[in-house]
């Protein structure tokens, strides 16, 4: 398991990404002006943050950023706040945000976690309540953003495993989930193996991207045994699901 509290891996700088792309002149000047207003008076962010998509559009800029999320990240990094006051402003934006805004807050957390500024307090775990609230929801786009580098670096083991399993249920591809390379452990493998068995017993398919995590742990042997027993089940769809799962697990 990763050491908790370590700085998360940081996404590409949204300012750099935005500067390389042709943003409409009106959008660029809106963004520059909005940044300046927020730097001068932080609570200006409350009216500016919701309108960013209407000004900057939603075009995809690179593998990580769309124009609206990059612009919203720029607005958040312009906040002249650190520590608890920063966390409070983020909590307000999240509380009153629509799903696109909530996602943008979550995706900006790794940037805010490192940018402590001169004499500023770190964000540390102060935004973790937002991650937890997002993980209790049902919108897969928000859940996916909650399990980005900030959440993945800071959630305790049990919560991280539950969050990964929830992603599997939500059909969020696991290659979009941060932290698995260091945090996937034997207990998560056991949970995924139980999930696979449950699916097979229901005659359903198992998402293929869980297999690498099961294979790497002792859960593999136990699951192989249980799936082999399922190949003798009375219901044909259950037997067939077991055969398919066994083939994928090998």
């Amino acid at each position: 398991m990763a050491t908790l509290g370590m700085p998360a891996s940081v996404p590409p700088d949204p300012r750099t990404v935005l500067s390389r792309h042709p943003l409409e002149p009106a959008a660029r000047s809106w963004l520059t002006d909005a940044e300046a207003r927020i730097a001068a008076r932080p609570d200006a962010v409350r009216a500016l943050f919701p309108t960013a998509r209407r000004h900057c559009g939603r075009a995809r800029l690179d593998a990580h950023w769309t124009a609206d999320e990059a612009a919203r990240a720029v607005l958040l990094t312009a906040l002249p706040l650190t520590g608890a006051p920063l966390a409070a402003e983020l909590a307000g934006l999240f509380r009153h945000g629509d799903p696109a805004e909530q996602r943008a807050v979550l995706r900006a957390l790794p940037l805010l976690d490192t940018a402590t500024g001169a004499g500023g307090e770190p964000l540390a775990d102060l935004a973790l309540p937002l991650v937890r609230e997002a993980l209790r929801g049902n919108d897969s786009h928000v859940i996916e953003a909650a399990l980005g580098p900030y959440g993945a670096a800071r959630l305790p083991d049990a919560e991280y495993r539950q969050a990964v399993l929830k992603c599997v249920f939500q059909e969020i591809p696991l290659d979009r989930v941060a932290g698995l390379d260091t945090r996937a452990d034997a207990e998560l493998a056991r949970m995924l193996a139980d999930f696979a068995h449950e699916r097979v017993a229901a005659g359903r398919d198992v998402p293929h991207d869980i297999w690498p995590f099961v294979r790497a742990h002792p859960a593999r042997a136990a699951l192989t045994e249980r799936l082999t027993a399922e190949t003798r089940a009375a219901a044909p769809e259950r037997r067939e699901a077991a055969e398919r799962a066994l083939k994928a697990l090998r």
Binding site: A47, P50, D139, I143, K166, F169, Q170, E171
Partner: protein
């Protein structure tokens, strides 16, 4: 046939309704913020409701191929409860959202001084945010209430074409169209307005600035009434283009005045495998 239901409370409806609506041609809806069967007693339950209108409901709708937009306001009935009034102070935050295409439902329920104040204040917010206004007309004393609503609209300074007065009938449609505002009709199984009466109104008043909705909610109502009205129009001899105007182009024109009716937006759930499955809720 493409249908835009300009007034429907999907929060109260099931995924079966979404499937049935899509099957008859509904591709876009506007869900106005309103009262629920059970009165609320604190601002926080409004904020959770607004969050659902901006979050969960569009997410659900998208999984059935329907675009979901909403209107936000403190409704007239609950504007009378001093415990709910602080909602008015937080409205600007919500009126800034991308999927909010009007201020509404505002208007009168019992025509109290509190309702007067909330109506005038929220018409002012519509002007300030460049949004249209969806105005509910009262069920009791409707003609008087509609006249009084039109007076307040005039005094507010909002352009009449930015205002939609809803739940109209044979006795209130004339004064609303004469004022330059839009006229909305809620087609209900037993009350308000029926398909056949609606057809008669269209024959008498034409199809300009007229919207037809199901206003389906938690009461006895039918989310397919828009399609049933379209069928009644065709049976009465209206051509397909006129049906398309009333059931699609008119609501697009009215809510399009917000500048936020992005009907081309990519479906947020393109990668989901909802076909043959139920709405995803993280525990199935």
């Amino acid at each position: 046939m493409r249908i835009f239901d300009p007034h429907i409370h999907m929060t109260s409806r099931t995924t079966d309704d979404y499937e049935a609506m899509h099957a008859v041609g509904v591709r876009a809806v506007v869900e106005p913020a309103f009262w629920l069967g059970q009165p609320r007693t604190s601002p926080d339950s409004f904020y959770d409701y607004f969050d659902a209108l901006l979050g969960w409901e569009p997410y659900r709708a998208a999984q059935f191929g329907i675009q979901h937009f909403c209107t936000i306001a403190l409704n007239p009935k609950e504007a009378n409860d001093p415990r709910c009034r602080p909602v008015l102070d937080e409205l600007p935050r919500y009126l800034a959202k991308d999927r909010v295409v009007a201020v509404g439902e505002i208007g009168y329920d019992s025509m109290t001084p509190e309702e007067d104040e909330a109506l005038a204040l929220q018409l002012g917010l519509a002007v300030e945010h460049g949004l249209p206004a969806l105005v509910h007309t009262p069920h009791r004393d409707k003609a008087t209430g509609t006249r009084r609503t039109l007076d307040v609209v005039r005094e507010s300074g909002i352009a009449p074409e930015l205002v939609l007065l809803d739940h109209l009938n044979e006795l209130t449609v004339g004064m609303v169209l004469d004022s330059g505002s839009w006229a909305g009709f809620s087609i209900y199984p037993r009350t308000k307005m029926s398909e056949d009466r609606m057809v008669a109104i269209l024959q008498e008043h034409g199809t300009d600035r007229i919207l037809v909705n199901s206003a389906a909610d938690w009461g006895r109502s039918d989310p397919l009434k828009t399609r049933k009205t379209a069928d009644a129009m065709r049976a009465a001899g209206f051509d397909d283009d006129t049906v398309d105007k009333v059931l699609w182009r008119n609501p697009v024109a009215f809510y399009g005045q917000s500048g936020r009716l992005d009907l081309d937006e990519p479906k947020p759930d393109e990668e989901s495998s909802f076909q043959g499955n139920s709405v995803r809720r993280g525990g199935e």
